[in-house]
């Protein structure tokens, strides 16, 4: 088993789907994504728990420029790959009862996206990472553009330019590092690490900011977030799921894998600033979320808040923080997909996402209400749900960094509970009205989406140890890479 | 070979060269004059008879016959005592030919029943004023003196006279 197969299979699948009939597309897409899931689980079974990147494929690609096709998985990568492979079938399944135009292209783009995402999480070559990073952008952009809502052209464009700007900055930073690698220049991750840590402090500052802005845009963190709510609202549900569930993790993953070890001095100097930005985005997003009337927008802002916490945890530079970030990435991915699916169901039935228009759905379909409740609890980090482990570890990490900040970060739980529960109350409880009284029951496909999500929420919340075990060596390795340079 | 015309050009040049050496046909005019043909149709003359009376009776046939409408005349009655001057009782008090219109076809001559108007071998002289080309009787009628009479006998050859008498030509005479 090697990583290239995990990357290559979705690409092949995406191309194959283009040659199928439109009606068959979705079934085949689901089948392909399930095969990919099986492949990734097989990879997990072969995975040995240590810090080494495994199942490596290392091919010379552009020799003259020292660029290699080098992909491998360590603990962090394989978890995120698994997240991707788990979520993609769910996302595809979630679209089954929706009427989608040109399904061939839609599913093909999703699978293409999966390829790029797996590539991002496994690339061990700076340039390759950048390529996958950009590759991931194009399909999601097309998904938003072609299947999105009203103002999609302008909004998706804003989204694209933001992220492209970020990635170009990242490229400049990477090239700068590349030019400082010793010997014949190379984009290999190890070479970049050593090049980065050998740079002077001002240079590292540059590197830090170029990379940080790139990742911050992707996550997004406070001043770079303006594209996000619009895009989430406008994108088709599956696109939003991809964006929030997986793509967002590209940013946080980038922080862990690429930013921290490459500019340790920069992190030392400016990590504080990044932390403050993260905390600001937590508070800011939470407060705005409370004031939202549109449910989808509310979730979008909640996503900013969550990811701010992850970012804060990562910048605490502690093993707990990073571990928390790691597990919260997975948890948030699953939860947010669930939440967006709830939005999708609501919108599908009522053609609206406005909170004030709903009410009393629990009376009509209790099954739906239950599922929603579980997902929601996961999201507000109730103990025994997956969110709890992550947030606990994260706040712990932040606390080690700075107690006051931890205090502010902790507010996320409270504020999260406020807006989430309030929305639950508005949607599910109370009196039914004309809109909700005719609410039709979930069909099989919809139920089938909720079951794995809820299972995962609960299993991860109850028994997170395997995940922590898998991630730990890699995270420790990264923390070790930083610490020689960073004195806390 | 045809297309480049060279043989034709040379042929042409030979011809012109031939003419170069030919006898020239130029008359050195004032000194040498070209002989007129006997029936040359030049300037008109209004004849007088043997007695010196004008033959014209202002019948107007010449004006009718004139294709260029160059002839105009005003008739008048002969007063007693003018028999010497005019042969008939009626005469032309004015008789004008516009020489700029006249085409010297000689139809007036043919039309004249009185043998009065004739075309001669004299040339109409050039002039610089148009109005002077309207010739009146002063210029057209021949002088009285016998010595200055215009000789038209050459034009009245036997053939011409015969021709004039032919019956089928009567149609242009007034019945």
């Amino acid at each position: 088993m090697n990583t290239a197969i995990l990357i290559g299979f979705p690409l092949v699948a995406a191309l194959l789907i283009l040659f199928l009939k439109s009606e068959q597309a979705k079934k085949f897409a689901l089948a392909f994504s399930l095969i990919e899931l099986i492949l990734s689980i097989y990879a997990l079974s072969e995975f040995k728990i240590n810090a080494e990147p495994q199942m490596m494929v290392n091919l010379a690609w552009i020799q003259t420029l020292g660029i290699h096709f080098k992909v491998a998985m360590d603990g962090i990568s394989i978890l995120l790959v698994l997240l991707t492979t788990v979520l993609v079938p769910l996302i595809i399944l979630s679209s089954f009862s929706r009427d989608i135009k040109n399904p061939k292209y839609f599913y093909s783009l999703i699978l293409f996206m999966q390829m790029a995402l797996v590539g991002v999480f496994t690339a061990m070559d700076g340039f390759l990472f950048y390529i996958f990073w950009e590759l991931a952008l194009i399909p999601i952009w097309f998904i938003c553009l072609l299947w999105g809502g009203e103002n999609r052209a302008r909004i998706t464009f804003k989204f694209f330019v933001y992220t492209l700007f970020g990635s170009l900055l990242m490229l400049v930073g990477l090239i700068y590092l590349y030019l400082h690698t010793s010997g014949t220049h190379s984009f290999d991750i190890q070479a970049l690490y050593s090049a980065g840590s050998s740079l002077s402090s001002p240079e590292q500052t540059w590197i830090f900011w170029t990379l940080f802005i790139a990742f911050a845009i992707k996550m997004p963190v406070f001043p770079f977030h303006t594209w996000q709510p619009d895009t989430y609202t406008n994108a088709p549900t599956q696109g939003t799921m991809l964006l929030s569930g997986i793509m967002l993790k590209m940013g946080t993953y980038g922080l862990i894998r690429w930013l921290l070890p490459m500019a340790p001095l920069g992190v030392q100097q400016w990590g504080h600033a990044a932390m403050i930005l993260s905390i600001i985005s937590i508070l800011y997003a939470s407060i705005i979320a409370i004031m939202q009337k549109d449910f989808k927008r509310l979730i979008a802002y909640s996503s900013i808040a969550h990811v701010g916490l992850i970012s804060a945890g990562i910048f605490s530079l502690t093993v707990q923080g990073l571990q928390g970030g790691m597990i919260q990435m997975l948890a948030h991915g699953i939860n947010v997909v669930g939440l967006f699916f709830v939005v999708d169901i609501l919108f599908n039935r009522t053609q609206t996402q406005e909170l004030s228009k709903f009410g009393g759905i629990r009376n009509v379909i209790p099954y739906f209400a239950t599922m929603f409740m579980i997902v929601l609890l996961g999201s507000i980090a109730l103990p025994l749900t997956n969110g709890f482990i992550g947030e606990f570890l994260l706040i712990n990490g932040v606390y080690q960094y700075n107690a006051y900040m931890a205090g502010f970060a902790g507010l996320t739980v409270i504020l999260g509970a406020v807006y989430m529960l309030r929305s639950y109350q508005k949607i599910m409880l109370g009196e039914t009205n004309t809109l909700t009284s005719t609410f039709t029951d979930l069909n099989f496909n919809e139920k089938a989406v909720f079951v794995p999500i809820v299972l995962l929420i609960i299993v991860m919340g109850v028994y997170p140890k395997p995940i922590l075990d898998i991630a730990e060596p890699a995270i420790k390795h990264i923390v070790e890479l930083i610490h020689p340079a960073v004195i806390l | 070979m045809e297309r480049i015309y060279l043989p034709a050009i040379f042929g042409g040049m030979i011809i012109t060269l031939g003419h170069f050496f030919k006898k020239k046909v130029t008359f050195q005019y004032p000194e040498v004059k070209r002989p007129f043909a006997p029936v040359y149709r030049g300037m008109h003359v209004l004849k007088r008879d043997e007695n010196g009376a004008e033959r014209c009776t202002a019948c107007g046939l010449c004006a009718v016959a004139c294709p260029a409408e160059a002839i105009t005349m005003v008739a008048a009655e002969r007063k007693p005592g003018e028999e010497k001057l005019y042969r008939e009782e009626k005469y032309a008090s004015t008789y004008e030919i516009n020489m700029l219109r006249c085409i010297f076809c000689g139809d007036c001559e043919d039309a004249c029943p009185k043998e009065s108007i004739f075309l001669t071998d004299r040339l109409v002289p050039s002039d610089s004023l148009r109005q002077r080309f309207v010739y009146g009787k002063d210029l057209l009628v021949e002088p009285m003196e016998a010595s200055k009479r215009v000789d038209i006998s050459q034009r009245q050859t036997k053939e011409v006279l015969e021709f004039k008498k032919r019956k089928e030509l009567q149609h242009n005479r007034l019945k």
Binding site: T64, L65, I131, L135, F157, V161, L169, V172, I175 | -
Partner: protein, 491 residues
């Protein structure tokens, strides 16, 4: 060198085709000839032969650029069929004339990439330019085409004046037109002091700057660009495609050859100038492109901005410069040919239907994807490549150039270039967005506009040759992007 013979012969054959009535076989003859030209230049690989007293040097640089030129011309000949055969506007302008002129221009381009004497540079530029002046005006009854022709001509001649003045001054300073001798003179300035002390130095400086101005006119760098948008817009679309690709490539190769072989030792004289020019070109080209409504004009401005990026490589003056310009030129040419092919198909279609010259605006393109997926896909690939989105060829072009500029320490300029490419993304993506979304007017319930537009094009209407061109451009854009090593390794 044989390549030049082959191209010249092809030009003459094309010229005679009308007379001897084998017009029908002209396209295959020319295409085969171009392949032959490529083959013959490949045969000269690594030989570095000088011809005729160092008038031309057919080194690897020249060979590579020749191949790029010939390959682009190959694509061009296929794409221009549409225009030459069935353009309803260009009445009667003979096909064979077009062929001959284009081939002669190609000869000029070839000379420009392989000259090693100022005389050949000058002649090469002129041989390239003169057919272009004519071709720009080949739509004889269209005023805009006429105007393009005139503007191009006047500005071209004006630029030639500057170039020549520069050559004369350099000759005055050094007494030679030969690039080799010249570079010897300049590089060994310390050891051959006569010219330096004698006061010829100012002549040399002034000469270099004048040549720079002349060449900047040719590559349409800001502020010597003002003719370019008008000319590009006014000229018939395939001709514009030719100008934007082959002419530009050749001009850059000439630029690079001159400044690399000769003036690299005197960087202080001209580098600051190019720095400013490059920055201006990138920024102004991109910013102005944003405000365009006509797609062709937008592409014209974008081509100006691409000239700015390529100037970076000249400025960088390191090992990667040659390769990066070559790669950029190839990538850019491929993408541009693709874009112009689509454009000319649409233009042709519009013009046939409306019986009047069509201007393709962004609005015209809206909803293209619904009507013809293939065309819009090809256009998308071209736009993505031009915008520099990985893994397409355009991205690597930019990447190489930026890297080499960074290597030489032009951080700020690279940042400006990055900013410029971001702005570029805006207008390239505008096209894609337009193609894939119904226009705003459609959404705001003006069905008449939509209905009026009707079926834009169906795949069947796109001729086989154009399909091949588009497929080739897509494949090349991908291949160059995924395996850029093949080209880059050659230099």
């Amino acid at each position: 060198m044989k390549t030049l013979y082959i191209l010249t012969a092809l030009g003459v054959i094309a010229m005679l085709a009308e007379m001897f009535r084998f017009k029908k076989f002209l396209l295959p003859i020319v295409l085969i000839g171009l392949l032959g030209a490529i083959a013959s230049s490949v045969k000269d690989w690594n030989t570095n032969i000088h011809y005729y007293n160092y008038m031309m040097t057919f080194d690897n640089f020249a060979i590579l650029f020749t191949i790029v030129l010939c390959a682009t011309a190959f694509l061009w000949f296929m794409m221009s069929q549409n225009f030459l055969d069935s353009d309803p506007i260009a009445i009667g302008s003979s096909k064979t004339d077009h062929y001959a002129l284009v081939l002669f221009a190609l000869c000029g381009g070839m000379i420009m990439v392989s000259y090693s004497n100022m005389v050949m540079l000058f002649l090469g530029i002129e041989i390239l330019s003169i057919p272009m002046y004519v071709l720009a005006g080949s739509r004889k009854d269209s005023l805009s085409s006429n105007e393009a022709s005139l503007k191009y001509f006047l500005m071209g001649a004006f630029a030639t004046g500057f170039l020549l003045f520069g050559i004369a001054l350099i000759y005055g300073a050094t007494g030679t037109f030969d690039l080799k001798t010249l570079s010897y003179f300049i590089s060994s300035s310390a050891t051959v002091p006569t010219w330096k002390v004698s006061g010829a130095e100012p002549l040399l400086y002034a000469g270099i700057l004048m040549m720079l101005i002349g060449l900047c006119f040719k590559i349409s760098a800001v502020p010597f660009h003002f003719w370019a948008p008008d000319v590009y817009t006014g000229a018939p679309t395939p001709v514009t495609a030719f100008m934007a690709t082959i002419v530009k490539t050749a001009a850059f190769a000439a630029f690079l050859r001159l400044f690399f072989t000769c003036f690299s030792g005197m960087g202080s004289v001209w580098m600051n100038t190019i720095w400013v020019l490059a920055a201006l070109t990138i920024l102004l080209g991109n910013i102005t492109a944003v405000y365009q409504t006509s797609v062709k004009r937008m592409l014209a401005y974008s081509s100006i901005s691409h000239a700015g990026y390529m100037l970076l490589a000249i400025l960088a003056m390191n090992d990667h410069s040659l390769g990066s310009v070559l790669f950029y030129a190839a990538a850019y040419s491929v993408a541009t040919i693709g874009a112009f092919t689509v454009l000319s198909i649409i233009e042709n279609h519009q013009a046939t239907r409306n019986q009047q010259p069509a201007t393709v605006t962004f609005e015209t393109l809206s909803g293209l994807a619904k009507q013809n997926k293939f065309l819009s896909f090809a256009m998308t690939i071209s736009m993505l490549s031009l915008a520099g989105i990985p893994p397409l060829a355009g991205f690597f072009g930019k990447y190489y150039i930026f890297t080499s500029a960074l290597q030489s320490g032009y951080v700020w300029l690279v940042l400006i270039a990055v900013l410029g490419s971001l702005i570029g993304v805006y207008y390239y993506f505008r096209i894609i967005i337009k193609m894939y979304s119904p226009s705003l007017t459609d959404l705001q319930a003006q069905p008449t506009a939509v209905e009026e537009k009707g079926e834009l094009l169906s795949f069947a209407e796109v001729g086989w040759d154009l399909r091949i061109v588009l497929i080739l451009t897509i494949l090349l854009a991908l291949l160059l992007g995924i395996f850029p090593d093949f080209i880059i390794r050659l230099i």
